[in-house]
């Protein structure tokens, strides 16, 4: 009960920050608000019993993401977004899509329901056999590195590809060649 209240309070704070990001025009303010949003997201994930994920979100979202966005903001030398004339079309589309997705989630299991299907098939097996088969008490690490090792190989390759993509986009030649 108290878990649900904590998560609900954190979600309400994140919703407030989301509305502030939508309305804020100063780009520096937008980035700082996004850093605060990431911290709240990390806290919510910790409240949902996911310390690995919370640590990663705090380090990546509130640390590296904010630094990269501030660096990019310095390079584009723009401080304010232009004011937008209020068009009603996007708002209608977004509300429509939101209603449809909410209708879609009505069939999902309730919060903290032990009978829901995701607790039935593979997860109990990982929780019971994980320590015996891999010798690693942290089941998330065991699943990530051993049971689902291929996925982690793919993810490392995605990070590598992003790295060389940014190198290809932003590398400077040493000579005075004109930039294409």
């Amino acid at each position: 009960m108290i878990d649900a209240l904590i998560v609900a309070a954190l979600l309400a704070m994140m919703a407030a920050i989301a509305v502030a990001i939508v309305r804020q025009r100063n780009l520096f303010g937008v980035i700082v608000l996004f850093g605060a949003y990431s911290f709240l997201m990390a806290t919510t994930l910790a409240a949902l019993d996911a310390p690995d994920v919370a640590m990663t979100e705090a380090a990546v979202g509130a640390g590296i993401s904010t630094v990269l966005m501030l660096g990019a903001l310095h390079l584009v030398k723009t401080m304010e977004a232009k004011p937008v004339e209020g068009a009603i079309g996007p708002l209608v589309v977004v509300i429509l899509v939101g209603v449809l997705v909410v209708y879609g989630t009505l069939g999902l299991p309730s919060f903290s329901d032990p009978q829901s299907p995701i607790h039935r098939h593979v997860a109990p097996r990982y929780l019971e056999e994980g320590l015996k088969e891999t010798g690693v008490p942290n089941i998330v690490t065991a699943v990530l590195a051993s049971y689902r090792g291929y996925d982690t190989l793919g993810e490392t390759t995605v990070v590598f590809t992003a790295g060389i993509g940014v190198i290809a986009l932003l590398r400077r030649r040493r000579r005075q060649e004109p930039e294409r």
Binding site: I21, P51, V60, A87, I118, D151, V158, V159
Partner: protein, 123 residues
């Protein structure tokens, strides 16, 4: 309409829709990227919330604990977070190059400049 059971999903959907609104309704490219990042991060709650069990604890095997929260969504979301920052970095690199080429990062001005170039080429 089980509010007490579904509030986590609805909160995540509200954040998702806020991010989607920023992406489709705002012209500034950096703000669009922030909206996209908000869209991506809201999905994490949508995935991790069903895995939580009341009275449970994090899925690290320890003495005297009987109920563990589900570890599978955590694995998926760990991958999703890192992939999200990778795409954000690529998007920001593209915005930097666009700024150097067009001298603006507002989408309508960029589209106008492209239309002008096409018109001149058609003549």
């Amino acid at each position: 309409m089980n509010v007490a059971g579904h509030f986590a999903y609805w909160g995540a959907i509200f954040l998702m829709m806020a991010g989607l609104y920023i992406v489709i309704a705002r012209n500034n490219l950096v703000k669009k990227l922030v909206g996209l990042a908000m869209f991506q991060t809201s999905v994490y709650i949508l995935y991790v919330a069903p895995g939580k069990l009341s009275g449970g604890t994090s899925p690290i095997i320890a003495e005297g604990v009987t109920v563990y929260s589900n570890p599978l969504p955590h694995v998926l979301i760990l991958t999703a977070i890192v992939v999200g920052v990778a795409t954000l970095a690529l998007g920001l690199a593209l915005v930097v190059r666009i700024r150097e080429a067009y001298d603006t990062i507002e989408e309508d001005e960029i589209l106008q400049a492209d239309a002008e170039v096409e018109r001149k080429q058609a003549e």
